[in-house]
Structures are given as structure tokens and as C-alpha cells.
Symmetry: C2
Subunit: 357 residues, 2 copies
Amino acid sequence: MRAVVRQPRLRCLDHPRRAPAIAQGNVRWRMTTSWPKSLDTIYGSAAGLCERVSRLTEGRFQIQPFAAGEIVGGLQAFDATASGAVECCHTYSPYYFGKDPAYGFDGGMPFGLNSRQQQSWMLYGDGLKLMRELFSKANLISFPVGNVGVQMGGWFRKEINNVDDLKGVKMRVGGMGGVFMSKLGVIPQQLAAGDIYPALERGTIDAAEFIGPYDDEKLGFVKVAKYYYTPSWWEGSAQITSFVNAAAWERLPSTFKDAFEAAANEQTLSMMAKYDAVNPAALKRLVAVGAQLRVYPRPVLEACYQVTLDTFSEFSNKSADFKRVYESWVKFRDELNQWFRVAEFQMDSFSLSKIHN
Amino acid sequence: MRAVVRQPRLRCLDHPRRAPAIAQGNVRWRMTTSWPKSLDTIYGSAAGLCERVSRLTEGRFQIQPFAAGEIVGGLQAFDATASGAVECCHTYSPYYFGKDPAYGFDGGMPFGLNSRQQQSWMLYGDGLKLMRELFSKANLISFPVGNVGVQMGGWFRKEINNVDDLKGVKMRVGGMGGVFMSKLGVIPQQLAAGDIYPALERGTIDAAEFIGPYDDEKLGFVKVAKYYYTPSWWEGSAQITSFVNAAAWERLPSTFKDAFEAAANEQTLSMMAKYDAVNPAALKRLVAVGAQLRVYPRPVLEACYQVTLDTFSEFSNKSADFKRVYESWVKFRDELNQWFRVAEFQMDSFSLSKIHN
């Protein structure tokens, strides 16, 4: 992600590791995020959380959000919070899968839970409990704060007609997607948001995935790679998470804990609702300027599915943490899918078959 | 709904129309609901909202929830709040479509928005704005507080193989469903929850729809009508709404307004998450004791769709309010469906095709 640097309040930068200021019952926290402010849905959700917490506490608990790069880089949010350099952050757990592949379940796994299913697993399944057990080892408490839904499957300069067409494709992929795609012959590239377009234009990379129509449009990919694939099987829902330093959390009065938790849950609802409101028009605009929508052919998805299962097995063999979470997750997913097949999918299938415009 | 009467706090019943008690900055409200306490997901969500508001305000703003029948009957919640007899309620807007068919859009219309789409229309489309304009005429402010998702399409003693099989079927249908179903020859019956099973057992009615597996199981329908149809095309998502008396709202300090609004949004997330966690196991249990799952045949759904469009036209011709909301709603739905066809549906279609257990 490219950091959009603004002038932070000097007090904060002068004492980046100071203890939180507590005066007359007031608490001030900093929230470092992994986002540039131009990602107004995701960054805006962080700002919305801070604003609601302030209003709920009559200004007694103030959290200031910072864009990536203002305090630390976007991918250092987790460590900065774990160390206590900041009290909290707003990020995406799969960025840190190198620490533990089980972190991937917090953000969403390939062929995993959709956004509604993820929310259920978190709040009424074992999801939040299991993830908090993992993150507690890093002195962190996790709070789901949003979801992006099914992302798009990337911009390509050439069509993908069969699984061999993926071989050798240099593709920018975020999160854990590259781990799985590399087994299909894709050469995954990690690039910050601002570096993707130039790389695609110069031919340094052949393809790129970012988020969905609303965010992708801003980066201009359609000008240099017109085939816009769906779905992002590796990010069938992307949960955004706020981590809070455990010691900072314990110092909070219970009312402030309630304010943070309620505001986080509210943002989980709100981020998805906003994406659903802004993506349709962006998709239309992209198609109007030449984007060619393509669905990954079924045999390609089947191959992706198979490498996903193989990779889950590998991780389970290597990591007891991964195995424990995977077993809970897959049981929850499979049972919930049975119910979704009966009701949601039957209704959606009919409703979405009606083309009105 | 069958009221589960418990002993309310006497102070409340002694002065049912008293002004809210405000002492030393404290506010006490009553929330009448349309639910028996046995509906632990929906009623539990009302209780959860009240609990969170209390915690957010350090007990200064207390709302006490009441089951249907404790203060007024379940279907009098709207009027009791409009008149100021209670400060707020927790109900389902289509119960009141006799006042204005446009109220139906608040709870969900046949072949309408799914739960995620409804949340987007409410928060980032014109949904909440339009509905509040309508409800303001009744001195009410509306807050979405939950969703049930796609309901099941009812319990039948005989299979429905074609649209003629619906003719003459005496069926218990909640909300607005009966308006649409009667045009297919169904004879809709309004029955409270506790009266449905005896009527079905005696043959006074031939079929009944209630909610979904988790709630339906409690009422025992499977013992007397084994064909369990999906989907409930007339309740493809059922939004639960809390109405607040406008004058009571205006008297609230802004912090209490924030607490109510944040808690309501949180419950919208939470209710759907809970239903998704409890419905799968209930569905399995129902099938284990003999429920025969059936999907409404496509020609039946097409006929239902056609009478739905016809009814929307009739309502639009009769009511300027309905027409205005319908035009906004249908535009939002159709554009959002285009996007759902591209991403969500492609992913769900693949994921749900994988049968694991």
C-alpha cells in the first residue's frame, strides 16, 4: 500500500512509545492502519470506529487513526501493536501468515466462509475464541471490524482458458493467495498498491488482483489489462481485524471496553454495507471503459480447489495450531453450507436469474 | 405469537403511560416486543440491545424489554410506541402493512433484497431515509435491529408439484405473504405462533410457514406436515425493526442516542450471525425425524414472481408513498444484483457445490 502521509499531531511522533495518556479518567489511543486514506471504505471504517467510540464516551476515550506509513508501515501494524508502540491497529491478518498460517482463518481462507458465514463463525461459532487464543501469544486481542465480501479474481492481459494458462504468470496477489497460486505455476508478486499499475503497464507483471470494482477502479488497471476475472477464490471474504494490545486493553474501564466492542461490531456491518452500495456503479463504469468480465472456468477452479485442500493438509501436518483451527472451521463451514444450500442459495439463484437492466 | 407472561416490575404496569423517569440524568425506557421469550434469537436480540445500552451508559440509560402480551399484544407494538404508551418497541414492519403497504419495504418484500443487500440499502442506499420519512408521520423513528435471512417456505401435508396445487390451500402465513399468495389461490390464515400447531394437527389449516429450522422445530410442525418447502420467496430476508417514539428520542442526550444507534447496528450483525449458527443443526435434526425437504418447482416460483410484480404495480397505482419507495428499492436491488451475479454468486455457486457431509 502506498502511504498517504499527512502531518500527524506532533505529540504522537515525539513519543512514539509513550504510555497512553490517562488524565482525569480520559484515555487517548493511537490506531495504526494498513491502509492509505484513498481506500475510503476500509480506512473510513477505522475512522468511523474511532469517531463512534469518542461519541459513546463523551470524548473521554479518544482513538486517533493513522494511515499506513504515518507511524509505521502498513504491514508493521501487527508488530507495532504487539510491542505496545501503539495501543491498537486496523489491518488484515493474512498479511502476517508468515508468523503462523493459522492467522489466515481470521481474514478468510481460499474456498472458505463467505462474509455472513465468517461473521457467524466469529460471533457464535468458535472463530473468535480460537483466533484470540492464537493472538494472545502475541499479547493481542482481536476484534473483527469489517468485511470486504467476495473480491474480484484479478486483471489479466490474456484470457485464462485452462489451468495451464496460469503457468508462469507473474501476478500481484495480496495476503495468502500467493501460497496457493504458486502451486498452479503462478509466480506471485507482493507489491504495494501504488506500485501495481506501473508494474502492469511496463510488463514487469502479467496480472494483478487488488480488491473489487470500487477500489480497483481508482488504480486504473483496466487501461493495461482488460480481462477482469471472477471470483477471487482465495478471498471469498476478507475480514478486517482490529488488534488491541492486551495490556492496554486491561487498563481500560469496562465502559470503554463496551464502547470499543460495540463500535467494532457496528463497523463490521457498516463496511460490508458500504462496499455493496459502491461496487455496483464502479463495475458498470469499468465495463463501460472496456473491462471484459470473465469467470474462471470450472476446471481451473477445480484445480485451485485441489491445491487448496493439499495446502490445508500440509499446514495441518506442520502446525498443531493450524490443525486445531482448521478442524473447527471446516466443520462449521460444511454444516453452514448445508443450510445455505437449502435456503439462501435457492432464493439467490432465482432472484439473480432475473435480469432487469 | 403466544405471549409468555412473566411478572413485570410493578412500577411499569401501574403507570403505563407515565412520562419517562429522568432523575439525575438517568433515563428509563420500556421496549415492548412482538415476541414470546421462547423465540430466543429474536427476543434475545432485543434483550441484548437493552443490555448493551445500559453498559455503554454506565447504567444511566436503562431500557427494559417486555415480551408480547406483557404490556400490549405483539401486533400492537407499533401503535403503543406511536402513542407514547411505551418509548420504543422491537417488531416487524410488515405486520402493519394495513396502515401502508410501503411499510413492507422495511421488513422485506417478496423477491426482494437478501439480508446483506437490505443492510446496504438501509445504511448506504436510500432505505433508512425513505422509511424514516414514512414512519415520521406516525411520530416514530426506525432503527434496523436484526435480520432473519431467507426463511423457509412452509410445512405442507401434500407436495406442491405445480401452481394449481396451491389453490385452496389454507395456509398460515405471516406478514405480507398472504397478500401475494392469495392471488395464487392460497387461503392465507393469520395465526399466532402457539395456535399454528393445533390448527395444523386438526386440519383446520393445510400448511403453515413460521420462520426457519431453529424456530420451527420448537413448534413441532414436522409431526403433522412433513414436506418442508424452500425458499420463502415472500420473506427472502426479514428485517426486524425497533421503533422509537419521536418525542422520547428528542429528549435523549446525544450520548444516549449514540448508544442506542450503535447497539441497534450491532444487533443487526448479531441476530443474523446467531441464526446462521443455530439453523444448520436444527435442520439436521428435523430431517432426522422425518422432514422431507422440497424446493418450490421453478414454474411455481415463476407464477409467484408474476403475481408479485402485478401486486407491486397495483400498490404503486394506489399509493404515491409505495411508488416512491418501490422505484428507489427496485433500482438499488437490480444494480446490486448485477454485482452479486459477478462475485458473490459465482463464489457461492462453486463452494456450495462441494458436498462434504
